[in-house]
């Protein structure tokens, strides 16, 4: 659609601008402020330059949390994306099954995040949880509060449980937009099941898959509530992801300077990812016309 140039449109955007400025710009300025200052209490602040940034970027604690978070994001993407495609391909296309599947699959997406944590905390417990109890009766030593491997497995399965449906729903939305004529043509050509997937379905899903991957990556990169409720970042610090570490530092230990510096580095990473997302979205919007 051809858009007209009109700078008065700024007035229409103004309410949003004021609202988001209040809830984003001012807090962000506070963070910038803290990141370059030091205090000895009494509300007296001293210029600290880039000390906090150097400290954060050289501390193993930050790199550990970042590394853990990247591994976590990579693992859940490697599981959720293929699984999501597989389920979307096998979803019913007609009849009562469609709304039924959509509604049931979307349910985990709409559960408050701490309740998701609570559900899995209870479900995985050795004494009262079905999963923990069954696994241990089968002779698998599983206790997510003591064993880092079990804690990781729990957090990953929980995320797969929570978010795979998003990938499914997005892929399904891409699949139903493929006209029947494509499949008919493929059948006349005698295309195999795999070629139909490779040359018809996958290209048509490219855009939604891209959205799914980017959204899942960003959301898993700032995951906080679910692992916090289940493991509290433990045992030790084996499941302490970036957000958990940051909140621990800022609210728990009240180390404002390092926490602020870390916030800014964190935010810059997110900014970069958002830019990738935005470029991809606007470009494929243009391609679609």
């Amino acid at each position: 659609m051809e858009k007209t140039w009109n700078n008065k449109a700024w007035f229409l955007v103004l309410p949003v601008l004021v609202l988001v400025a209040f809830s984003a710009v001012i807090p962000l300025m506070t963070v910038v402020n803290y990141s370059v200052q030091d205090t000895f209490g009494n509300n007296e602040f001293f210029w600290a330059g880039t000390d906090w940034f150097t400290q954060t970027l050289t501390s193993p604690r930050f790199w550990d949390a970042l590394w853990r978070n990247l591994v976590f994001s990579a693992v859940i993407l490697a599981i959720e994306v293929p699984l999501g495609i597989l389920i979307a391909l096998n979803m019913p296309k007609h009849g009562i099954g469609v709304p039924l599947c959509l509604v049931l699959m979307a349910l985990p997406l709409l559960i408050p995040w701490n309740v998701v944590g609570t559900i899995w905390q209870v479900f995985g417990r050795v004494d009262i949880g079905l999963l923990g109890y069954v696994l241990n009766s089968l002779g698998v030593h599983y206790n997510y509060t003591q064993d880092p491997t079990a804690a990781w497995a729990t957090v990953i399965v929980m995320d797969v449980w929570h978010w795979t449906s998003l990938v499914v729903l997005l892929c399904y939305a891409g699949l139903v937009s493929i006209p029947d004529a494509y499949y008919q043509a493929a059948r006349i050509d005698g295309a195999s099941r795999f070629s139909v997937f490779r040359y018809i379905q996958l290209p048509k899903m490219k855009r939604v898959l891209l959205i799914a991957v980017l959204l899942r990556f960003m959301d898993s990169f700032m995951i906080y509530t679910e692992p916090f409720v289940v493991t509290g970042g433990g045992p030790g610090s084996s499941t302490t992801f970036l957000s958990i570490d940051l909140v621990k530092m800022a609210v728990g230990q009240f180390d404002l300077g390092p926490a602020a510096a870390m916030s800014i580095i964190y935010f810059l990473i997110i900014l970069l990812l958002s830019w990738v997302f935005y470029t991809v979205m606007t470009q494929s919007d243009a391609e679609q016309g």
Binding site: K8, P15, V122, V247
Partner: protein, 276 residues
């Protein structure tokens, strides 16, 4: 050649099993929570039972009779509704501007809104606390409602912009020629056209405000404490009343489960910021 639809993409006849197994996997932990919410604490802590042997409503009764529990729900609903109203009403004119006009810095602004949706709440928790303390807004519903605008306003703008771009511009032009003023045109003609978009945007604002815990917990202490935070408190202290915890969890799932049917065709769209 039969005339049945050929886009049945499942390779084998057993393809339907995959979604069924997946849904079972989704349902199992939820079933366990519901199961627990109807058990007595004695039964929960005793030998494992797959369904409640003496079903009890005691856990739900505790929640509906104890103000510190049911106030949590009331608080959550108050700030979530406030946030939804604020977000959608602020986003409507802005989304119209983005879908119809080009103006100085429009693309930068649109991108900047997106970064707020993607911003980790952990970064904002502490500065929010200090900002709202300075305004004396700590522990009020409006504080949480405004704080949640951080991610809900951008979401609403992106979703509404997607819906509005689908309405042909000729409709606007015809209305202006017919002598409609902008506000009258917007309310009388345009808003009914994008009614489903408004519904979807409102639903997702409601949902994302409802599921968020970190910011809501940071900004409240007692008077506006959301149910999610009340639950966390119970987890950490007060000797683990598992039954009540499970019942509280079940009750937080209900709002989503109630309305999900009406937005089933738009769920993907909402989560993908209106870009599907």
């Amino acid at each position: 050649m039969n005339n049945r639809p050929v886009n049945n993409s499942s390779g084998s006849r057993l393809g339907f099993l995959i979604p069924v197994v997946y849904i079972l996997f989704l349902a199992l932990p939820i079933y366990w929570l519901v199961n627990m919410s109807f058990k007595t604490n004695g039964e929960i802590l005793g030998p494992l039972t797959l369904w409640p042997t003496n079903p009890t409503f005691r856990n739900y009764m505790v929640i509906f009779t104890d103000p510190s529990w049911y106030n949590g729900y009331i608080n959550s609903i108050i700030y979530v509704v406030m946030n939804t109203v604020i977000s959608v009403s602020a986003a409507l004119p802005a989304a119209y501007a983005f879908s119809r006009y080009r103006f100085l810095g429009d693309k930068h602004l649109f991108f900047w809104l997106l970064t707020n949706r993607m911003a980790p709440p952990a970064v904002f928790a502490l500065p929010f606390f200090q900002l709202y303390s300075a305004f004396g807004l700590i522990d009020t519903h409006i504080a949480v409602a405004i704080a949640h605008c951080l991610f809900n306003v951008p979401l609403a703008v992106w979703i509404l912009e997607g819906f509005m771009s689908g309405v042909p511009k000729e409709i606007d032009e015809t209305a202006y020629i017919d002598g409609y003023s902008f506000p009258r045109f917007f309310v009388k003609i345009f808003m009914p056209l994008i009614a489903s978009g408004i519904g979807v945007a409102a639903f997702f604002c409601f949902m994302f405000s409802w599921v968020e815990l970190l910011i809501a917990r940071t900004l409240t202490t007692t008077d506006a404490k959301p149910i999610a935070a009340t639950m966390t408190r119970t987890v950490s202290a007060s000797g683990m009343d598992w039954g009540v915890l499970a019942a509280a969890g079940v009750l937080t799932i209900i709002p989503g489960a109630l309305v999900i049917y009406f937005v089933r065709n738009y769920i993907a769209k909402g989560f993908a910021l209106g870009r599907v």
